[in-house]
Amino acid sequence: MSTVTPDEQTSADSHDHDGHGHHEHPSYVAHHFDTSQQQFDAGKLGIWLFLAQEILFFSGLFVFYVYIKTLKPGAFEYAHSFLEVKYGLINTFVLITSSLTMAWGVRCAQLNQKNGLKLCLALTLLGAFGFLGVKYVEYTNKFSHGLYWGSMYTHHLGGAHGDVHGASGDHGASSDHGDDSTHGAAADHAEGDHHADGEHGGAPVDVGDGEVAEATTAIVDADGPAIGGSVNLPDGAPRGGGPGGTLGQDGELLIDAEQPKDADAETLDRVAEAAMEKSHAEGLDGDHAEPFKPPISDPEYAAYLDELAVLYDNPKDAGLYFSVYYCMTGLHAIHVIAGIVVILWIFLRALKEEFHSDFFGPVDYVGLYWHLVDLVWIFLFPMLYLVR
């Protein structure tokens, strides 16, 4: 400010008819800045501060991750095995490449290579969309097996939307960590107890097409906590509903149920029969069909995971892990989408040839943002996909 000469003392927007002389400001320098360099430096600092707060924005989720990794290592190990590294690798490669094209674009802008800039920005956008595409595939894959977050986790029930098979015999044990006696007991009275447990609010549901949709807490063991993420809430309490299921009157998880109906013995018999037939048809003795197994090729490790499944294949363990997974990758994906929006904006400005070697700040700043999005993924990928 003190370097302003008397000729330029007047307000900036009066350079049309003001006798004091035309402002020296180029059009791309805002009027409150003295020089182009000052504007560029200010913008740089501004975007770095923004990135700093973005890191802190993710920090809560990193803490959530550390929480489950250190306090629930078994759940972590079991649930994490469902993640397919190949998708993560593809995404990592795509994102790093898009960071490369973005940086290249900044360089093009600096060197006045306008067509190069347009091409690089277009490639970056392509990479961003590609990333989202892979994520879409991954997510739908998981959803189809019931690998949802928290209370909507239905993988242990065979997973897919409305496709629950058979009695939840195993599940009596899944929330009792290491309580084998309950496991045996649950398995024993898996079929028979359906009738007796009607009073527990294990309201069964529509039976049709040979498919059985059933309330998961048909078995609520006396000595075990409620399973399947059933939280005892007062009547009418709103809770997460959705493709996985809703909570019924007593807080039990209902799969594809419209209303909790009173179970009569006849319906329960039919349910139990249909379940038994189905599981026999699939060659399993007495129990329900196996839910989708983690894609592990090593048979020993797969067997180990089967053992872990007994303990952790439920909403409060594996489901919690997937809460972390979806929150972290979901928030990251939201930032990718935001990145697409801003890169598109810069791309449109680049098409209008707004950037040149004296003015490329916005490209630089958007580039920095995109690098941060990439950096977050570079943390997410090993933390979620690689670490056991």
């Binding site: 409150h32 809560g60 977050w149």
Partner: protein, 574 residues
């Protein structure tokens, strides 16, 4: 470096351009759009001022409702459920709509760029966006608060906030309001973050030649430290409330023990922001006081570097003490560590108080209205700060946690501290912002009334708390009734005094005398331009010197303001 030109003052006042009155930012353009879509930091500051003061009186109204309910034992004007809603409204409005934006956004926006001799902040459009986010967030937030049955307290503690659904409400109150309110706070949070980004960048990149870091006014140091906290802490609140919302909507289980989560985790997340937030509240206030003390005692601030460094120390240490809000939720070891750190963060604050006192010593103390508030601040903030130490002591906190002692403590620091300093700052810079002088005698009277009424309201609450009165309770045992009544009477007087203080300012707009450029004799740059400033702040480049070289200015009875002396001493490195 140029010397001070004695004719600068005259040059500025004669600088009227015919085209669009840029001699006065208030006259440069009129109509709603010229204000609501302005890029001028001064207009944005004024709009924030009006908005935050409006929020303050709304929050204050709910405070008076709370106090009225507590006038007598048992239900007085409302039942327990509505009481919970009213104190939630009071707290949430005051914290998120008033106190956090107040000094940084209203006074900081107006004053800081001019103190730097700049034409505007670094990112004027981002500044406007901050204001629009405040407006949008405020509308959203208020609709949420006023139309739902939100009764979680401003802290939204889990598991209540994740499971409450307000079954007994009817009509509009059926929604629990949690998601609506947290979304509003989320939006307001980004308003705060953008202001922080703007201030840090402005201080780094838009200082004039010659204004080194240690030539910055202390108000700028304070805003800078505050802005750092705003940028680093607020996103943590954003993700916390985001996780709370997701928990409610889809049940991820993070704060739900039945789902493997932990409600205390919420407390950690929440207080990791909300403790630094209280430093967002107090640091700018301290910055105001530093400038007020120096100017109104006609004395160079004592211990400039100590005050500057202590601002940064408070900002940094403030991130380490969040656990002192959770002594009863954490382990003995964690509590001990947090207690020790809490003691350490009190030290820089104390350093400032000593420096202000020493600045007053042998100064020529004027009791103009801003100084009345500065003196109030000194006393009230000291009480608030010391009582914070009691609360930070584990053995005592066991008895005082969640009692009225805590309520009294934070009202002493937030209201006796930040609000009083805010008022002092508004009065101090009012002539600059509006070009009008207020009635100083009336201003002094109301300032005194506020001081007495404040103590009448809140001092009994220390006693109530130490005797066991819990906070957030709408009823109490008969032993507490007298002190509650004293407090309530005090609160009515406080409300009236505050309205009076506002009246003094507003009435100056039509009956106040024209203000000189430098009514108080300050040496900082904002008083070297006319009152009100021209559109682009300075028509002539200002001279940079020691911001507290008050001896370089002398009173001129003709203009009733201060003018630079012929041979300035202060234009040298300090």
């Amino acid at each position: 470096m140029a010397t001070v030109d004695p004719s600068v003052e005259t040059q500025i006042s004669h600088d009227d351009h015919a085209h669009g009155d840029h001699s006065n930012y208030l006259l440069a353009g009129s109509g709603f759009k010229s204000w609501f879509f302005t890029l001028d930091h001064k207009r944005i500051g004024l709009m924030y001022l009006a908005a935050t003061i409006g929020s303050f009186f709304l929050g204050g109204f709910f405070a008076l409702l709370v106090r009225t309910e507590l006038l007598f034992e048992g239900p007085t004007i409302m039942n327990a459920e509505n009481y919970n809603r009213v104190f939630t409204l009071h707290g949430a409005i005051m914290v998120f709509l008033f106190i956090i934006p107040s000094i940084p956004a209203a006074l900081g926006n107006f004053v800081l760029p001019i103190m730097l001799g700049a034409k505007d902040v670094a990112f004027p459009k981002l500044n406007l966006a901050s204001f629009h986010l405040w407006c949008g967030g405020a509308i959203f937030f208020l609709m949420a608060l006023l139309s739902t049955g939100l009764d979680t307290g401003w802290t939204f503690y889990t598991p209540y906030s994740t499971t409450t659904y307000n079954s007994e409400g009817t009509g509009a109150f059926q929604s629990s309001g949690v998601i609506l309110a947290t979304t509003g706070v989320f939006i307001l949070g980004f308003s705060s973050i953008f202001t922080g980004i703007n201030m840090v960048t402005t201080v780094h990149t838009m200082r004039p030649p010659g204004m080194t870091w240690f030539r910055l006014p202390l108000f700028v140091w304070a805003i800078y430290a505050t802005a750092i906290i705003q940028v680093l802490a607020t996103p943590v609140l954003a993700i916390t409330l985001g996780l709370l919302t997701i928990e409610r909507v889809v049940g991820i289980g993070i704060f739900d023990p039945a789902m493997g989560g932990d409600p205390v985790l919420y407390q950690h997340f929440f207080w990791f922001y909300s403790h630094p937030a209280v430093y967002i509240m107090i640091l700018p206030a301290m910055g105001v006081i530093s400038d007020l003390m120096s100017v109104h005692c006609r004395k160079h601030i004592f211990g400039y570097r100590f005050i500057a460094y202590s601002s940064i120390a408070i900002a940094l240490l403030g991130f380490l003490v969040w656990g002192h809000h959770m002594f009863t939720s954490t382990s003995a070891l964690a509590s001990t560590v947090f207690s020790a750190l809490t003691f350490s963060v009190s030290i820089p604050s104390a350093i400032k108080v000593f420096n202000w006192l020493t600045t007053m010593y042998k100064g020529s103390i004027s009791l103009a209205t801003p100084m009345m508030y500065a003196l109030s601040f000194l006393m009230l903030f000291t009480i608030g700060g010391l009582t914070g130490l009691f609360l930070g002591t584990l053995a005592i906190d066991i008895h005082l946690h969640d009692t009225y002692f805590v309520v009294a403590h934070f009202h002493y620091v937030m209201m006796g501290g930040t609000l009083i300093a805010f008022l002092g700052g508004v009065y101090h810079w009012w002539p600059k912002m509006t070009g009008k002088m207020f009635n100083d005698r009336l201003g002094q009277i109301f300032a005194l009334c506020i001081f007495f009424a404040f103590n009448l309201t809140f001092f009994p609450q220390f006693v109530l708390g130490s005797r066991g009165m819990p906070r957030r309770y709408y009823d109490y045992v008969p032993e507490f009734e007298f002190l509650h009544q004293v407090s309530t009477v005090g609160s009515y007087l406080l409300g009236l005094s505050l309205v009076g203080a506002l009246y003094v300012l507003v009435s100056s707009l039509w009956s106040g005398k024209k203000a000189p450029a430098n009514p108080w004799g300050a040496a900082t740059l904002e008083f070297q331009c006319s009152s009100p400033p021209p559109l682009h702040n300075f028509d002539e480049a200002p001279t940079v010197g020691d911001p507290y070289a008050l001896e370089d200015f002398e009173y001129d009875p003709e203009t009733k303001g201060f003018v630079p002396v012929a041979n300035p001493q202060g234009v040298s490195s300090h």
